[in-house]
Symmetry: C2
Subunit: 247 residues, 2 copies
């Protein structure tokens, strides 16, 4: 996004995308957020839609700009279309803190309908890049989200709910994990998303019975217990199952 183009013919007016980008690290589900220049608020990575760009492509572009990643699991989940979802006074403060030309108020103060996407990315591969309008770009644990602008807290909640529902039909995980990983990591992801503990023996059996994992070598962590086996996804079977859905 080039700031000078904002108030011109480049973007569709009144429409935006916001991405809830999930990563997994330290057995914790995390969300990528941007720090507003007012020093008080954080926000979801979002952007506008080029006049000749598909909405999906806009979401992919925003994701790429913030993470450097392409071709990851990116799923549209809801539209947030309340005319009062943004606050004029907050917007004015933000524009001021960004030291932008005040003519851009016209752009930022308009009402936006935003299309929510959630993305699943491999935490280690992400090099978070703040956009020109933000101070920084950082990961936050899902239960330690800071103060967000507008309805962005609602959007994250809604993304989690949507993901929870998709989880029952789609083997989510490949995009959140490195190429090989212990089953416990996958289980932790499921536990975090579903918000409840799962029985390890039963989880292992169920996941393995899907036929989408390859057993690889043992992984010695140095801890005083049995070394877990690592697994990797069989991508072909994984995508086939993604398409059809589980159970």
């Amino acid at each position: 996004m080039d700031i000078k183009d904002l108030d011109t013919q480049s973007f569709m007016p009144g429409l935006s995308v916001d991405n809830v980008i999930f990563g997994f690290h330290d057995n914790q589900l995390k969300v990528l957020l941007l720090a507003c220049k007012d020093g008080k608020h954080w926000m979801l990575p979002g952007g506008y839609i080029l006049k000749n760009e598909s909405v999906d492509a806009a979401a992919e572009r925003v994701l790429f700009d913030r993470t450097g990643l392409q071709k990851v699991y990116l799923q549209q989940f809801n539209v947030f279309g309340d005319p009062k979802r943004s606050s004029a006074s907050l917007v004015k403060g933000l524009v001021k803190s960004m030291e932008l030309d005040e003519t851009l108020n016209h752009w930022f103060l308009q009402r936006f309908v935003t299309i929510g996407y959630y993305a699943l990315v491999e935490y280690e591969k992400v090099k978070p890049k703040p956009d020109p309008l933000s101070l920084s770009c950082d990961w936050f644990e899902i239960d330690q989200i800071p103060r967000l602008i507008f309805d962005h807290a609602t959007i994250i909640e809604s993304a989690l709910t949507a993901m929870r529902q998709h989880l029952n039909f789609q083997p989510i995980g490949l995009n959140l994990l490195p190429s090989s990983f212990p089953l416990k990591s996958l289980q932790s992801i499921y536990e975090t998303i579903l918000g409840k503990k799962l029985d390890r023996p039963n989880f292992n059996r169920k996941i393995l019975s899907l036929g989408i994992l390859d057993k690889k070598e043992k992984h010695f962590t140095g801890a005083a217990h049995k070394a877990p086996f690592l697994y990797s996804f069989r991508k072909k079977e994984y995508y086939k199952l993604l398409k059809d859905g589980i159970s």
Copy 2:
């Protein structure tokens, strides 16, 4: 929608809603469509979003204008944001056939991102009303859809898929049926949406076990077989289950 307001400050530019309105009649799932004035195409009931109106409210308004119904099951399911989803030549033909001021081409020829909703309505209660830009408003069986404009066929397909997924978690049916109905009607709805035959004994047991139906009197159709009992929804329990989801 007032035509003369189209190209003014009344509506959000580039954004629309389209409703896939489902009804149930003659043991068939039907969709409400509008006839374009070119005499060749049909389209989904859709509309624009007032500058100070929520997107959900716009969808409800469109639904009310075409059916006279309010407070029915109306569910946002997908955004269609391909910049090439409409065809300029088709739009020009349609505007011409509508005998509108050609300055309105500016409005109709812009790129629209549309937000898809599906609605479940009680067929008998609907008095289809065409909008000022259409010739008529009629029901079509789901497997006999006529030629549609733009990507509207895709939108219907997508609505069916979404509904199929929701069906497993939500007791859909109340909004499609009159206040009392035989179990067979409900079963037919499920069969149509899921696209497969269901076993009657098992279906009856499952639905009745949810505790959302009240048994009422027998209904003599005049046919040479046992008269089926009618049932009605216990709304309170129904909505509780809707909220929590089935199984």
